[in-house]
Symmetry: C2
Subunit: 122 residues, 2 copies
């Protein structure tokens, strides 16, 4: 199996660059069974998830990653655990966030089966 650290690095580089340029392009990373918990709200399926992400009340944003941890999961996937800062337009202070992904292997690549996101308010 692929090195979890390398998978996590490639995934997070791609995920946050896509998020910060055009959130609608995240659609291909999720599937019908994918789950998102976003600030306690729950969504299932690629369409619902990306609709939520695209509807967030800012146009431009930037993720600055502070840490990325990776572990192999019992199902042959990769758990990815990220902390960092989210800078959104119109906000002078960065928002601290943490996020967990579970990636499952599919056709030589990975899809997001689980996505959990929280802001860490100061």
């Amino acid at each position: 199996m692929a090195d979890p650290e390398a998978v996590a690095k490639a995934f997070t580089d791609h995920y946050y660059a896509t998020f910060d340029s055009n959130r609608a392009n995240l659609l291909g990373l999720y599937q019908d069974q994918s789950l998102l918990s976003f600030e306690g709200q729950k969504f299932q399926g690629a369409q619902q998830i990306v609709q939520k992400l695209a509807s967030l009340p800012f146009q431009n944003c930037q993720h600055r990653i502070s840490s990325t941890d990776a572990q192999p999961s019992v199902s042959g996937g990769v758990l990815v655990f990220v902390t960092g800062q989210l800078i959104t337009e119109g906000e002078s202070n960065p928002l601290k966030f943490s996020q967990t992904f579970h990636l499952a292997p599919l056709n030589g690549s990975f899809v997001v089966t689980n996505d959990l996101f929280r802001l860490n308010y100061a």
Copy 2:
């Protein structure tokens, strides 16, 4: 399968109460294959993991939980995602943390297969 939210609530209540009273008693929650990433350091196996937790440089601490999210995992387990504050003796300021667990069902209960912990520095 058990309700992920109920599993997460029961687990986190038990885990943090045990952590804050006697960390050595966390041993039974992990197994030989369990993985811990603690502030980027990696540990495998119940003994190694609990040895690390017991060696943290404070005697008394208290976890205050801000949020707990739960999702079913593709392997029939539960992903638990926690944010909160850690208060340690001798520190006047609480430390913000986030932590992810994957729980796998075993003999009618759950064991921790994955544990990832990070402080979110201000």
